[in-house]
Amino acid sequence: MHEPPILAVTFLGDTTADLVLAELHGRGVPVVRLDPGVDFPADARMSAHLTTRGLSGTIHTPTRKIGLDAVRSVYWRRPTPYGGTGPGVTMEEQFTNSQSRAGYAGVLANLPGALYVNHPWRNRDAGYKNAQLAAASCVGMYVPESLITTDPDDARRFITDRGPAVYKPLRLVHLPDDEGKGRTVWVRVVDAAEVDERVSLCPHFFQSCVDKVADIRLAAVGEELFATRIDIDGDHLDWREDYKRLSYNPVPVPATVRTAVRAFLDAFGLTFGAFDFALDADGRWWFLECNPNGQWAFVDDPTRQAITEALADTLQKGRT
């Protein structure tokens, strides 16, 4: 196989990435899967050679060998994090982990000529709610008013003046309870009287609640947009709470939203983005957030297949 390969950086069991890898494999496109935080050092090894002519060298995975200067595209999904370097970590681990993060991630994020879907550092930059909301406003989307605060009085004032309002964590939270059962923070309306001094312990994010009739999840893959209307059979605000009570229907994307989404992706240097919108009774699409590395395979079958193919097309094409 002389065709330049596609490098998929993700954990084993990433079912969403598997869809794309299976599609590429079906097309005869060579793919190399790597989970650097797990595969190195036992099952994989790397030598990256830097000269005046640039980068060369190889990564050996348990099943493949890939030339660092011959990668067509990188599908950067969800690699297992490298270990920590903080308290409680041995010095050997601290050394290994910090050098691994800098060395593997540094090389993998700088492969010459490769298209990144998406580049991990672009994902990081786009992952901040305040940056997203500012960019969304800038490109002309409807954006609900928001507050990031450590001041309980400001929080109460915002909820009273701009309410109904919701509280959302600034980053996805997954914290098990005492029995090990997974918990997260669901988006729910918050009453001003619920807020107390504990808001001062870290930044808290409050947002005006859009009076919505439905939610829309939009997956953007390069120039192609796939929007799905999500209707909830229930009275909870956050559709992610219960997938068994959702219905999915593909919807066309209004031209103004299409243009704004393109501009948003360009602003952050993203090829892919999973956008959440709230649809109001007047048909307006309110920007809630963009997950630059978001999930997309939970929607209806034809849309899932279309997104799979669009991602495969993009990765196969590489940088043009």
Partner: protein, 87 residues
Amino acid sequence: MTHTKAPWGMSRLAPYRNPVDVPYALLTLDAESQTTTYRDENGQPLASPTLGDITATSQSTQTGADGGGGKPPAPADSDSIPDEQSD
């Protein structure tokens, strides 16, 4: 830095509904396609998890992070997190 007090936002933590039971015992890499093979406790291949188990909130079906387990999903921004200190 030690925080003994719980920030207000933690009072909003709630369990996942309808947690998904993950049926596999072992994951292996299919060398040919580079996709995941799901295996039972005897190492026999299983059908891949149904796609309905893949959610937006969490990580596909890995170790029940989909809704049931205590293990956190692989973060969408892993390895983009800078080291605590730069030089």
